[in-house]
């Protein structure tokens, strides 16, 4: 059979449907135009009124009319002039004539319709930013606004006879700062405390406090970084092993505020944890040469870290900037395991790439070094102190997140001229001086008067003629919106999919040393209760002395059915599920001298009993505090304490061996904060609010709500479910309508309702709003542009 197929293969090639393009404009026609025409008819040169920058220019002709007729080379004046013997007419007027074979190409090209790849022009090249960082000398402060950002921007505004925008109110500032720094709304209480604080430095303090909330900070910024590094929990490639997550690494880096240059070195010369980024996506089947892993690598690191678009140059020398095919391939070759052959527009051209960095002025890669070494060298070159492009790119991205528009915009086009190069260069240098500290940089921007100003109102989205006038309001990301809705309605999901550690961080080293000394000991505790009639509730307590603050202390505790335990008046543990004992590190609650343990125990029915065992290291001593007859007990309401009654030893039925000896010495760390939207899989609601699939690097989210999204918000089941559960939670608070409104408006908008809003809504809600009323109220509030915008 085989030979027959081989024979027929030839047939199938012969009838290949691929449109055969007689002329390749980019590679055949363009060089001719460059060589023979560009000198007089390209860029701003338009001899005889004829410009040839674009197809349209050429078609428009010159002073004496049209010069080409697509499809009709024979009747085209352009051909006539390059072929004519008339010395007064001939083109080009001097120098060698256009060779006949080139004329033939031009004729064929015109006859075939004169296709002209619109991305190609004969014009001059784009503006090219300097590579080196540039130290900016700050202009003097105006009106005592001495923050470097304000000094630059205020002067910029002054040269345009404009005044800086006025500062925002404390309430607007708090909402903005909170959403920007940690992606959460301030609670009504936090807002009240902030507004009441008379201190002059309260804004700076708030910014610091917000950024110090490391879990909240990481939960929020994870969204931006997942987009940027195309990291996700599900998506193309994960299931087939063609792609790996970097979630645990990324989250830790954000949480510990790893310096950005270190992060990037980890990403470019990765450990297993951070390798997912440069490895990109291995697609199944044959892929276009511009989508191999090696080329993805070149594209991704250029775009993400440098704001350079290598996508064009991955196929052919770029027509829109200076990057060439060989530069793209040489960069890719740094990553490549095998020698890499250049492909132009998917066709191998027989040239091999040499591992090479794109800015040789900073140094280069040793092409002979093994891949790992090459990547290490690349990581150093990328984060080289003289690589101003590297720092400008990241500070611009963060500026855009905080101020609503990049200093270079779009933020991936770092070859575009910034609207204020002093500002961009200043920020970039400062960021490097501050050891690439992302939090410090965010704090730096947020403490400027510019950040704390009222947003500017724009009639339409700003374009290339943008001039700074103040910050621009931002649309919440899908994650911010969901987090805000969850915060107000108390409907956070229970489970997250992200593999991240959000539990409170402890002093790791000390703890490890102490834990090592706390070897498990058998459980000797007794189930106890008060003596006499069991009743539903019991109060239990124990007083004991410590010689010093203990160096370690843990407790294992449970109660059939529920309990709350305090130590020295502070709650340390509570549970309503006797089968799930609590294991808590209580070292910080104990003190030298007398300590009091108090327990409120409750039984729902059936057996009643409370049991606990402390293991404490006090100085060099190790001892146990166990529930037993040394405890006191009483029925709630009774004055008298009495000796607690021992019901049964640990291990007895009906409870069995409920306390886990091992667990008590490796207590799970304390409770984590509620799950955030960035930590769960994308769903229909978030998708329709603009959370992307992350097959590609994503550096901006849609700024606008669309009709289909609005339909989802109007009747989608996911949102309806949050509203419903949220309404249940709020109705359970037992508030009157005015109380509910006050609380809700402060949470949602960081302001009380206006008189007219209050009047209107009270009429709508009635005196005692029911579930339905509250559901609808929540929807009306969440759908306000004021809610969904960070203004």
């Amino acid at each position: 059979m085989k030979p027959l197929y081989l024979l027929l293969l030839a047939v199938s090639i012969a009838v290949s449907p691929r449109p055969s393009w007689a002329v390749d404009f980019a590679h055949e026609v363009m060089p001719i135009l460059r060589e023979h025409c560009a000198q007089c008819h390209a860029g701003s040169n338009q001899k005889g009124g004829l410009g040839m920058n674009t197809r349209a220019n050429l078609l428009a002709g010159g002073e004496s009319g049209g010069v080409v007729e697509p499809g009709e080379a024979e009747y085209s004046r352009l051909i006539e002039l390059i072929e004519t013997d008339d010395e007064s007419e001939r083109m080009p007027p001097d120098g060698p004539r256009v060779p006949p074979e080139d004329v033939a190409i031009l004729k064929k090209w015109i006859d075939a319709g004169m296709a002209w790849d619109p991305e190609i022009t004969l014009g001059e090249s784009a503006w090219e930013p300097e590579l080196a960082p540039r130290v900016v000398h700050l202009p003097p402060a105006r009106d005592h606004r001495s923050h470097p950002i304000d000094r630059i921007l205020d002067n910029d505004l002054a040269t345009r006879d404009q005044t800086p925008p006025p500062p925002v109110s404390d309430a607007v500032f708090m909402r903005r700062a909170s959403l920007d720094a940690i992606g959460l709304l301030p609670s009504a209480e936090e807002l009240q405390a902030f507004l009441a604080d008379p201190a002059g430095d309260k804004r700076e303090r708030l910014i610091k406090q917000l950024l110090a909330r490391e879990v909240d900070y990481a939960d929020h910024w994870l969204t931006t970084w997942n987009d940027l590094l195309r990291n996700d929990y599900t998506g193309t490639g994960y299931i087939t092993g063609g792609r790996t997550q970097i979630t645990p690494w990324l989250y830790t880096a954000l949480r510990l505020n790893q310096p950005y240059d270190e992060m990037v070195r980890d990403l470019i010369a990765p450990s297993e944890d951070s390798a997912g980024f440069i490895n990109g996506i291995q697609w199944r089947g044959d892929v276009n040469a511009s989508q191999t892993r090696e080329i993805q690598f070149a594209q991704s690191i250029s775009q993400v870290f440098l704001g350079i678009n290598m996508k064009c140059a991955s196929c052919h020398d770029s027509f829109i900037d200076r990057w060439t095919l060989s530069e793209a391939y040489n960069l890719a070759a740094i990553y490549s395991d095998e020698p890499l052959e250049l492909n132009r527009c998917d066709i191998p051209i027989g040239t091999m790439a040499t591992p090479k960095w794109i800015f040789p002025e900073l140094g280069d890669i040793d092409p002979e070094a093994p891949k790992e070494k090459r990547l290490e060298q690349l990581a150093e070159l990328m984060t080289h102190p003289d690589n101003g492009r590297f720092t400008r790119t990241i500070v611009n991205r963060i500026w855009e997140r905080l101020m609503g528009r990049g200093i270079v915009h779009p933020v991936d086009a770092m070859g575009t001229k910034p609207w204020n190069d002093d500002l961009l260069d200043y920020l970039a240098v400062r960021f490097a001086q501050d050891d690439y500290d992302l939090k410090k940089f965010i704090q730096f921007v947020m403490t400027s008067q510019a950040y704390q100003s009222e947003t500017v109102v724009l009639g339409k989205e700003p374009g290339e003629d943008y001039e700074y006038a103040g910050p621009i309001a931002k649309r919440m990301t899908a994650e911010q919106l969901l987090d805000s809705i969850w915060q107000i309605t108390g409907t956070q999901p229970v489970e997250m999919v992200a593999d991240v550690d959000r539990s409170p961080r402890e002093d790791v080293q000390d703890n490890a040393a102490q834990q090592a000394r706390l070897d498990p000991v058998p459980i000797s505790a007794q189930w106890i209760w008060h003596a006499g009639e069991t009743g539903k509730k019991s109060e239990l307590r124990k007083t004991f002395q410590l010689n010093a603050t203990p160096s370690a202390a843990v407790v294992s505790v449970t109660c059939d059915n529920a309990f709350t335990m305090t130590i020295n008046g502070r709650q340390v543990a509570a549970s309503r599920q006797w089968t799930e004992p609590a294991y808590v590190d209580v070292q910080q609650y104990l003190r030298a001298g007398e300590n009091v343990i108090e327990v409120d125990a409750e039984m729902f029915g059936g057996a009643a009993g409370f049991i606990c065992q402390f293991s404490v290291i006090d100085g060099g001593e190790r001892f146990q505090v166990t529930s037993d007859k040394t405890w006191q007990a009483r029925r709630p309401g009774s004055e008298q304490w009495a000796t607690a009654k021992e019901i049964a030893p640990h291990g007895a039925e009906p409870w069995g061996e409920i306390l886990d000896i091992d667990a008590s010495f490796h207590p799970p760390r304390g409770p984590s904060p509620p799950v955030r939207a960035a930590l769960v899989k994308n769903d229909f609601l978030m998708r329709s609010l603009g959370r992307p699939n992350r097959d590609l690097v994503v550096t901006s989210r849609p700024a606008e709500l669309t009709t289909l999204q609005a339909i989802d918000l109007a009747n989608g089941e996911i949102l309806a479910n949050y509203l419903n559960r949220g309404a249940e939670n709020l109705v359970a608070e037992g508030w009157t309508a005015p109380e509910l409104l006050e609380w809700l408006y402060r949470c949602a908008f960081s302001r009380p309702p206006t008189t007219s809003e209050r009047t209107y809504l009270l009429e709508v809600l009635g005196e005692h709003p029911d579930l339905v009323d509250v559901e609808d109220l929540l929807w009306m509030v969440f759908m306000q542009p004021e809610f969904q915008m960070i203004r």
Binding site: Y5, L6, L8, L9, V11, S12, V15, P17, P19, W21, T54, R55, A56, D117, P118, E119, T234, T236, W283, R284, D286, V287, S290, Q291, N309, K311, D412, A413, V457, L458, G459, K460, E461, A473, S688, N693, D695, A703, E704, L705, T706, T707, L708, A710, I711, A714, N715, A720, T754, S756, E757, Y760, D776, W779, M780, M783, Q784, P785, E786, M789
Partner: protein, 479 residues
């Protein structure tokens, strides 16, 4: 602090918001080089609406629209002798025969043109999702930009036909809970045009009405009141003037458009229970049949582009890796009647002339060849045999990209015409007038009045409706 100009603009926008439903998106890619290049000249439209009937999973053309030498199942038969597992039947057109089990479609073949020479590239592994991506966007994944679905191109370039009805509706495909869902999502999208032009997804036709109704348990009166109160609150919002108009207004306009649809008479089109019993039964062969009925109702109320799919689920439906014959026999019972009924209904309503109906699949199948002859693709048949011993071996189980069928009805295509041909003997490659995905798209776009050279600026590069603007319409299929 609010100046007169802002107040004037606010007033103007309020009026706009109430009066205009047009999507005035601002964060949108611009038409490529609109300043200095000649304006794209769109051809005159032959159709106003388009229905794509997508038989996902690889519809074997020798067992559907392109019957070849048929041999019934017989133990001991060598499979290289079999090309089709169904006999051919006559159609309403003399020179066109199609496969048994499609008698209803055979009866309407005189309303359309049958292309038998569609071809696809061999992408190594012949993966459904990648070929589906290619077929739906015109581009082979992976790409450096998110390519729009052809429905999104129509939504973007042509806009909605009836401003109340979403211009791009996708019926029958679940995007959650099925295999390769991420890959399906990758092309079921507005791509770089954004979600405004992306699909309204209606995976279950009988539940479609829920997408345009208030949330479950909410009475229409309450729903309308909620929106009324909402608008009052927006008007009273003290901070309305402190947010940029383009951001706020797009939000309010979209909210208005959503509620306009949800309160419109057009929303009845989504409700299959409003269809007369008799007519419903004519379509109801299952979920796909109901999808066809829904497509008809939506096009009647002004949808621009509707895709109805038999649904892609790996190894299900048209993705026949074994038991091909019996599976296809069942599938024909599911698709034959509703497709024919759709054509007839559109015709009797006077809509067929201006509605382009396309039946297509990502590639064809063959009993022996994977990919195209010479392909290095992995053999995907689950039960391999050279000699028939069991019924499960009887069917077209390999993916074949060398020649497949696409049927087009209405919308300016010739009636009762045949275009292209595949070989008489294996390999059944297109031997006459092969049509690439690019050219097929150019044909569809041309029928709809969209130039295949239409381009938008994405990251300063042009992105074309057909790959690199190279798609050429097959003008021979037009009347």
């Amino acid at each position: 602090m609010i100046n007169q100009e802002q107040i004037a603009r606010r007033t103007l926008l309020k009026q706009l918001g109430a009066a205009s439903l047009a999507a005035l998106g601002t964060n949108q890619p611009n038409a490529w080089a609109s300043n200095d290049s000649i304006a794209i000249r769109h051809p005159e439209a032959k159709a106003d609406s388009c229905i794509l009937i997508w038989l996902a999973g690889g519809m074997a053309s020798p067992d559907t629209f392109d019957p070849k030498r048929y041999l019934p199942f017989e133990k001991g038969l060598s499979i290289d002798r079999i090309l089709s597992t169904f006999p051919a039947i006559d159609t309403a057109v003399d020179n066109i025969k199609i496969s048994a089990g499609m008698e209803n479609i055979a009866g309407v073949m005189d309303r359309g043109t049958l292309i038998r020479s569609a071809v696809q590239p061999d992408l190594g592994h012949i993966l459904h999702s990648r070929h589906q991506y290619h077929w739906h966007t015109g581009y082979v994944p992976p790409l450096t930009v998110a390519a729009p679905h052809i429905g999104a191109w129509m939504a973007k370039v042509l806009g909605p036909k009836n401003p109340v009805v979403p211009p791009f509706i996708n019926i029958g495909q679940r995007l959650e809970g099925v295999g390769e869902k991420e890959e399906l999502k990758a092309f079921t999208t507005g791509g770089f045009f954004g979600t405004e032009f992306g699909p309204m997804n209606l995976p279950f036709p009988e539940d479609a009405v829920r997408s345009v109704q208030p949330p479950p348990g909410m009475q229409p009166g309450r729903f309308a009141n909620r929106y009324r109160h909402y608008k009052k609150l927006v008007d009273q919002n003290p901070n309305r003037d402190w947010m940029s108009d383009y951001q706020q207004e797009s939000m309010l306009r979209s909210m208005e458009a959503a509620h306009r649809l949800l309160g419109s008479k057009e929303k009845q089109a989504f409700d299959l229970t409003l269809e007369p019993q008799e007519s419903r039964q004519a379509y109801d062969t299952g979920r796909f049949g109901r999808g066809c009925l829904l497509a008809r109702r939506l096009v009647e109320s002004g949808a621009r582009f509707v895709e109805v799919t038999s649904e892609y689920v790996p190894f299900l439906h048209w993705d026949t890796h074994e038991k091909g014959h019996s599976t296809v026999a069942r599938l024909k019972r599911e698709v034959d009647r509703p497709i024919a009924q759709l054509i007839l209904d559109l015709e009797s309503r006077g809509l067929l002339d201006r509605t382009l109906v396309i039946i297509a699949s990502e590639f064809s199948r063959d009993m022996m060849i994977e990919g195209v002859p010479g392909s290095n693709a992995k053999d995907q048949a689950t039960n391999k045999t050279d000699i028939l011993t069991e019924m499960k071996h009887y069917g077209l189980h390999r993916h074949f990209t060398g020649g497949s069928s696409v049927a087009m009805f209405g919308g300016g295509v010739k009636q009762g015409a045949l275009y292209g041909a595949t070989a008489v003997e294996r390999p059944l490659i297109a031997v006459e007038n092969p049509v690439s995905v690019e050219d097929l798209h150019a044909t569809i776009f041309t029928a709809m009045g969209i130039s295949p050279q239409t381009a938008y600026d994405v990251e300063k590069r042009p992105f074309f409706a057909t790959k690199d603007g190279h798609g050429k319409p097959v003008v021979d299929v037009f009347a």
